[in-house]
């Protein structure tokens, strides 16, 4: 499991890049979901989002899951290419598989990489 140190993380397994505003799901999340076969992004460019708003819906062979906004603000970009290749959520969750970028907003309740790693370990119930 990788957790880049420049990112912030939520309890619901989204990552947020404070520098670029990019949002996606973590390596831990993609591993839990296994092969992802479908993604639908639920917000459009220019839309205002609040923390916790559902921004995407992801389906794997195991389960389907909603992805929530880790920060509030205006959606400045949507990765439209992602819906064509959901498999990149498995292969490159922190890179090619970014979902949206949120501009100018404040992050909600987020953890740093060390905190998130500890949180994931604690969940191996």
């Amino acid at each position: 499991m990788t957790t880049p140190s420049n990112l912030k993380y939520t309890k619901s397994d989204e990552w947020f890049d404070p520098a670029t505003g990019a949002v996606g799901i973590t390596d831990y999340a993609q591993g839990q979901l296994s092969d992802i076969v479908f993604i639908e992004i639920l917000v459009d460019e220019g839309e205002e989002v609040t923390v916790g708003k559902a921004i995407a819906s992801v389906e794997s062979v195991k389960a389907s899951s909603e992805i929530y906004a880790p920060a509030a603000g205006k959606v400045s970009a949507v990765n439209k290419a992602l819906t064509e290749k959901p498999e990149t959520l498995n292969s490159d969750p922190y890179g090619e598989a970014w979902m949206i970028k949120i501009e100018g907003g404040a992050a909600g309740e987020v953890m740093d990489a060390a905190g998130y790693e500890k949180y994931c370990e604690g969940r191996a119930h």
């Binding site: 839990q32 296994s34 092969d35 076969v37 479908f38 389906e59 062979v61 195991k62 389960a63 389907s64 959901p86 498999e87 191996a124 119930h125």
Partner: protein, 495 residues
Amino acid sequence: MANIIEPTIFELSSPGRRGVKMPASDVPVTALPPKDLLRSELPLPELAEVDVVRHYMKLSKFNYSVDDGFYPLGSCTMKYNPKINEDTCRLPGFLFTHPLQPIETVQGNLALMFEMQEWLKEISGFAGVTLQPAAGAHGEFTGVLMMAAYHKLRGDTKRTKMLIPDAAHGTNPASVGMLGMQVVTIPSDDRGNVDLEKLKAACDDTVVGMMLTNPNTLGMFDENIEKVVNMVKDCGGLMYGDGANLNALLGIVRPGDLGFDVMHFNLHKTFSVPHGGGGPGSGPVGVSQRLVDFLPSPLIGIVEEGDADTAPLYGFVSPKNTIGRMKAFHGHFGGGLVRSYTYIAMHGPDGLKDISQYAVLNANYLQARLRDTYHIPYDRICMHEFVMEGRFEGSDIRALDISKRLMDYNFHPPTNYFPLIVSEALMIEPTETENKDTLDRFADALIKIAEEAKTQPELLHNAPSTTQFGRMDEVKAARELVLCCWLPENYEQMT
């Protein structure tokens, strides 16, 4: 026999082949509807009767059903369905009636439905029952509609939130979403109960109610059920019970007595209707006194009282503030109601209690036999099912590999990857209809598979190897979905 692929019925088709020779038409020719309402082609397969019979006979041999063997699919209650149900639902008086017949000519059908309403009320402790909903999720939608109507009639329009535990069936949030309500997820605590602190924080005057499955999908009876019900009621909400797991409670606990306001039954699970192929379901809904006036219309009622010499006249009645009709006609009569009625009548009150006691005993026996081999995250006395993890320390074996390997031992796999709060979940529901020998063979197989996972993991990775087809590519199936084998000519305009 292995690896012979049976073509689809469309591939077997040959132009001009037919099953029956139609006589020349002896009715006058009439004009067709306007051309723009007609399609120019209807590519139905053309085959002789024998081709059709052999095709489906072959396919049926690839199948695995509860009549073949053990089918421990968690939360689905795949119990054996007694064959007497098949006799009763084919009695000519039931089979050859039509829902639009005058009520005087279908008194037997109506009497059965009336009695079924009464029996379900008695079993569940509710004040009223509708038999209309087609299956469980339809029952949920019906129940949530009644909850909404209740608040609306009181002018209590602030209520838009439904509380749903994280262990819930996915149909619960889906039913709520269909009504435009908001779902608030309530986490489970370490013992698999509703987290009371989180529930307390979520209870306010915007809550429609709570949808709770008890026992839940971990097979756990909520130890704080009275507190949960009271918290929801204290904030003015209604309690919805998901009856999917009613097989654990018959004759022991009545949801109505626990304070639930509404619950759907899954007749096809608890009261034995074959449902492996996707139907027919049957999802009657019971309600407390608070909601009886909102039940769908019509209900079956007595429209003329009888006396010592004459039977009453059964007919249709409509509740005062009914939410309206939920289904054309009166529910799944023959397929669902007559079979379930037979099942309840064959068992009687003591027999129903036996069902639940043996269902719970069987699940606990299996759990006890597997406890040392598989990790059981919520490990306490379970009800009719339990959930274990299909993974081992230091191994890349997953729940899916274990399930596929079980097929080599000629068992239907348990439910995989549900509930979502257990990683690599294997959800096992043996039901009351299995004997100890079967349970032992199943436990032995799972213990052997755990050993194989250590010594010969490739056996699991490559499983199943004894079935008609090997491991299916689930990812490819989901990503490259082909739903039909021909496309209508105007397909481009349709999409």
